[in-house]
Symmetry: C2
Subunit: 352 residues, 2 copies
């Protein structure tokens, strides 16, 4: 047994660690580096050379070592509460994933408390501190982009957490999500395959939103790969019907008209669709519109949305399983789960 110290609620506690679990020393021996290097790799990966980082990561995965969480997960005063912080509760954008997350936790006797950040990093930080100071055993966070102070806080307090809606290839946070850039590429390639060459994009505010950013990167890549295709315009706005409608109208003011508008979320696509109707444009005869997410909204419009289905249900369930396994220190867990998105062809994309 080895003693490990960690901070919780501003007081120090001594926690005993089970000797059957792989230790930091085991990882160091396998990777052929010092334990200090591993700490550095975990706390400031950017300061570690890539080959070393990769070697350490491999050793961690081979041994099923759970970085960070050992101490805290063994704390005796588990509250059986887990926190989730989502960007917004509006429009059910995260609802079905959260619902599956909760159902899985509930079956394990764990209560979920949810905070909303309103897409604001400071509010997310407040919500993280609030949940932890009140004893949440672990957290679900959306996306991977957060300020250094938030990352440092999570690291310093060894907070068991899982990222969802993203699946970063770097960093050391466990994640259950999908490749937003690839999915963005896929839907744009799908639109191009339908013969569209003049395209426009409506996306969410990208600052601090790695999912919105990555989707646009993927969309642009797909368009750039087709020599005769053009991106005529791109508008960023909040996830509201009204703002998306205004963005859609703006995109159609230029001399050249797009034949398809690729939207970074279903909420944006529905806003575009409602605006198209107001402007007397038929969808998809006059203009095609695609969504992203496949939330309930997508199936109730007329025509219903051609969109990208995010596997919210399996993502939420898997995220809960990973987080529970971390808390229970179950060995051999895969800490990165990349799920697949699929394109759902409905009625808003025409072949031209």
């Amino acid at each position: 047994m080895q003693a490990l110290t960690f901070i919780k609620s501003n007081k120090w506690e001594i926690i005993m660690r089970d000797s059957n679990r792989p230790s930091l020393e085991d990882v160091a021996a396998l990777a052929g580096v010092s334990t200090a290097s591993i700490s550095r790799c975990i706390n400031s990966p950017q300061k570690v050379a890539e080959p070393t980082r990769q070697r350490i990561q491999n050793a961690i995965e081979t041994l099923g070592y759970v970085p960070h969480f050992g101490g805290r997960a063994l704390a005796r005063n588990r509250t059986n509460t887990i926190g989730a912080i989502i960007p917004t509760m509006d429009n059910a954008m995260f609802a079905s994933g959260l619902q599956a997350f909760q159902e899985t936790l509930s079956a394990a006797g764990v209560t979920l408390l949810v905070g909303s950040s309103n897409y604001d990093p400071d509010q997310e930080f407040d919500a993280i501190r609030s949940l932890l100071s009140q004893g949440a055993d672990g957290l679900l966070l959306i996306g991977a982009a957060r300020p250094e102070k938030t990352q440092a806080f999570l690291t310093q307090h060894a907070v068991p957490h899982v990222l969802a809606w993203c699946c970063p290839k770097t960093g050391h946070s466990p994640s259950v999500g999908f490749d937003n850039q690839k999915s963005g590429h896929d839907i744009a390639a799908h639109v191009l395959a339908h013969g569209h060459r003049k395209l426009a994009v409506i996306c969410g505010l990208r600052e601090g939103n790695d999912r919105a950013t990555a989707r646009v990167v993927g969309i642009k890549q797909a368009i750039a790969s087709q020599s005769d295709a053009q991106l005529l315009g791109l508008e960023e706005c909040k996830y509201s019907f009204e703002e998306a409608g205004a963005a859609f109208a703006q995109l159609l003011t230029g001399p050249e008209k797009a034949s398809a508008v690729i939207c970074g979320s279903d909420v944006l696509a529905v806003g575009a669709l409602l605006q198209a109707r107001k402007m007397g444009l038929r969808v998809p005869e006059d203009i095609s519109i695609t969504g992203f997410d496949d939330i309930s909204l997508a199936q109730v419009t007329t025509p219903s949305l051609t969109t990208v289905r995010v596997p919210q249900h399996s993502m939420g369930r898997k995220a809960a399983e990973v987080l529970l396994a971390l808390l229970n220190q179950e060995p051999g867990q895969n800490l990165r789960h990349e799920l697949m998105t699929t394109i759902i062809d409905r009625g808003t994309l025409a072949r031209i």
Copy 2:
């Protein structure tokens, strides 16, 4: 100054009460009863004769006395966290009210944590205990129907709380909501005024759901008041498109066909609308459908839903104001706010 004792986290604390606030004695003097009667009225209202209960309630309202919360609200270890427990996160049924609730709290520097009960009283009870044991200063709860053990827990622990989505005329919980029965009556009367005489109803599972129950009572009253009107059928189901679709199909199997289906929520109405389309029925030419709530879904269907607009935004904001006032012991607060619903005429109700 007078001393008041109350339980928090299983230990007794002595809290000082501001002498400017109306006291229990003030209420007793005005109502002409003993302070013990008032305690009994607050803790076990069913044990107090109705005229006495009414006299005490009037005195409480006249003086602006804040029952229960005085002690707890003065607790020095405020966490600046408020909890809300909603029946479901799906379909954004409670999202915009919750969003406004959160924005108002956030402006006051208070963090909101949300739990979901899945329409299950036991899960609601767990979430209440979880939020309180973790230090939530107060709670937002949806509806007024809950088991005796939950009520007793709230009373015993003097939990500052506000009910929303309902506005009960009895009971002593502060509430910010609307009259579900009257609103149900209104939409049914509106359908009848359009000439419909053969009606059917799809509602949510009513057990433990006072809002769903009251809406149906109101709908039935309106139908009963019109001698030549008939309620041909009523189906209860969960708030899902699929279950509502099945309920709709079931209602149309009989020999007599309804000309209008009144739904207890927009989610149910959208499920009915999608099913009508599958069955080749035109809405509203072949059958009229009405919703309830006016959530985002209602405006994106074709035709968009004729429904009852619940003032979610003002309800959420006002509920936050009432709860903050309780916590800050601001005097003279009105503890019951009944807001008005309005009928939104869109495209799913035909005149026949």
